[in-house]
Structure formats: structure tokens, C-alpha cells
């Protein structure tokens, strides 16, 4: 059964790019979209989401807050969270991992790098 991936980014264009990379990588998944962390959290609480791909900087609720909120209702870390962001400082990566993110993908990324990160998670 295909896994369900929630793509979270305030830029509809960037969500489109992430979805294009999922499709181009041949990864068969169900895809949901959210424009901010708050909407994503509500969708996550609705159940059935296996992987969250989230931007960091977003209005209403940012990506790092989303990670913390998801881990409050998923303390066993059953869902995989991957941050996809231009923020690449070691402090930011550490902050994301401590909050509960599993992986970190810095933009710009190659299709190969994207596939490498996602194929392990979606296998």
C-alpha cells in the first residue's frame, strides 16, 4: 500500500517542485499538501500520514513548531519528518533534529539527492 506524504510549504510553487521530484523519482505515494504548519498539523492529527516534508519558514506556524507539535502527538516517532529548507547552518540542523526531525534536505538539491533521502523512507 503506498505511503502518504504531506508536503508543507507556503509556496505553492515549491510544493509543486517537491511533488514533481517525488513523481520523477518514481516514488509511488499518496500526496497531501499544506500551506503552513497549522494546516499541516490538523491534517496530521486526522491520521494516515507516514511522511511529512516541511519547509522551515512559513506564516501562521513555521516548520520547526510543526515538528515539535507533531512529536507531541507522535512521541514514538512513527511518522518520518524531513525538513526541506534553505536554512543550512549547523545550529538550525541541530535544532530540527532535537525537535524531532528525522532528516534534513537543503535547497538547492539534485533529483538524485532527493531520491536518495526519500527512497529509504518510502521503501
Amino acid at each position: 500500500m503506498p505511503k502518504t506524504v504531506l508536503v508543507v510549504d507556503d509556496s505553492a510553487m515549491m510544493r509543486k517542485v517537491v511533488i514533481h521530484n517525488l513523481t520523477a523519482a518514481g516514488l509511488v505515494v499518496n500526496i497531501l499538501e499544506s500551506p503552513n504548519g497549522q494546516d499541516a498539523l490538523e491534517k496530521f492529527k486526522g491520521g494516515g500520514i507516514d511522511v511529512v516534508l516541511s519547509d522551515w519558514n512559513m506564516p501562521i506556524m513555521d516548520g520547526i513548531t510543526l515538528v515539535r507539535e507533531i512529536r507531541k502527538c507522535d512521541p514514538a516517532k512513527l511518522a518520518t519528518i524531513i525538513m526541506i529548507t534553505t536554512e543550512d547552518s549547523p545550529d538550525k540542523v541541530k535544532e530540527a533534529v532535537l525537535a524531532g526531525a528525522n532528516h534534513y534536505l537543503v535547497k538547492p538539491f539534485t533529483p538524485e539527492r532527493f531520491k536518495e533521502k526519500l527512497s529509504k523512507v518510502l521503501a
Partner: protein, 176 residues
């Protein structure tokens, strides 16, 4: 945020002499690297730097320009210019879609690429001890508009060639 400006603007007003303030060449090199990296990874084509020149006047543009403000150690702006065909080709490769006209998706795509370039340059600059913050991108699209350098702010234009068409990057910065 994006806006479309189809009207022809008035002729370029007379400008003061070129600013004498120096622009740190490191800044420019990191932005050039960021353009090449962003296009080669996310668009699948590596642009080649063709020309670097000082910008002293407003140039007439034709297509789409992504503009992003910078603050911190130096303050100013970065502008990514693509003509209409290049913008359609580039955003088509970026999203995996085909665009026959200059749609809102194409305009948004140029804004997103500008954002990624600025973020990548910011990260590269940080590793060398330069600290910058970047703003939110704005995009202008239309015909015969001009991007004017701010008086007193050194501005360099880097022109690139690529299989998807020509593009240019303007980096205008002064010490913050």
C-alpha cells in the same frame, strides 16, 4: 508577491555618476556560485558566466525579474532577470510542466528560484564569516520595464548563457 507591468515606462531618467564605493568581490563570487548551483541542481542545466560589468544605468528588461532584499553586514538587493522564453523554459524544467505563455506559475517559479539563490548565497557567505539576512522575494513581469540601481550602492551585473536561454543577476550591495 508578484505584479505585472505591461506598460512602457518613461525613458530612463538621468543618473548621477557611477557610485565609487567598492563592492566586496567575495560577495559577487558567492552569488555567481549560488546561481550555477541552483540552476544545475534544481533546473538541470548549468549556466555559464559570460560577462561581469558594473551597472550604472537602468537597463531595459523584457520578461521576468525576481527581486530580493538583503540586510546585515552589507545591505542591498539581488535581481534575477530572465526573458520570457528563458523563464518559461527554466520554470518548466524546475516543475516538470510545459508553459506556453507567461503564466502566474512561471512568475512564481522565478520568485522561488530567486529565493533559493539568495538562500544558497547566504549560506556560502556565512561559511566565510559574512552574515546576511534575506527578505521575501518579489517578482516583476512585463515588457520594457527597467531595474534602476539605487544611488550610491555599487551594483554589478553578471550575464549568464545557458541552453535554456540567457539570464542575468544584479547584485547591488553597500556596507550595512
Amino acid at each position: 508577491m508578484s505584479s505585472i507591468n505591461p506598460a512602457r515606462p518613461p525613458a530612463t531618467p538621468p543618473r548621477a555618476a557611477a557610485p565609487k564605493a567598492a563592492l566586496n568581490v567575495d560577495y559577487i563570487n558567492f552569488f555567481i556560485e549560488a546561481v550555477v548551483s541552483t540552476f544545475s541542481t534544481m533546473v538541470g542545466e548549468s549556466p555559464v558566466r559570460e560577462k561581469v560589468m558594473l551597472k550604472t544605468e537602468g537597463d531595459e528588461n523584457f520578461g521576468v525579474s525576481g527581486i530580493i532584499g538583503l540586510a546585515g553586514e552589507a545591505a542591498g538587493s539581488v535581481v534575477l532577470n530572465l526573458n520570457e522564453d528563458t523563464a518559461r523554459n527554466v520554470v518548466g524544467k524546475f516543475t516538470g510542466a510545459a508553459y506556453q505563455t507567461l503564466t502566474s506559475d512561471v512568475i512564481d517559479g522565478v520568485g522561488e528560484l530567486t529565493n533559493i539563490i539568495a538562500g544558497d548565497a547566504k549560506n556560502r557567505l556565512r561559511t566565510k564569516g559574512y552574515s546576511f539576512d534575506i527578505g521575501l522575494p518579489r517578482v516583476v513581469a512585463g515588457r520594457n520595464y527597467i531595474t534602476m540601481p539605487t544611488r550610491g550602492v555599487p551594483c554589478v551585473v553578471v550575464k549568464f548563457g545557458s541552453p535554456l536561454g540567457g539570464l542575468s543577476l544584479e547584485v547591488c550591495l553597500r556596507k550595512g
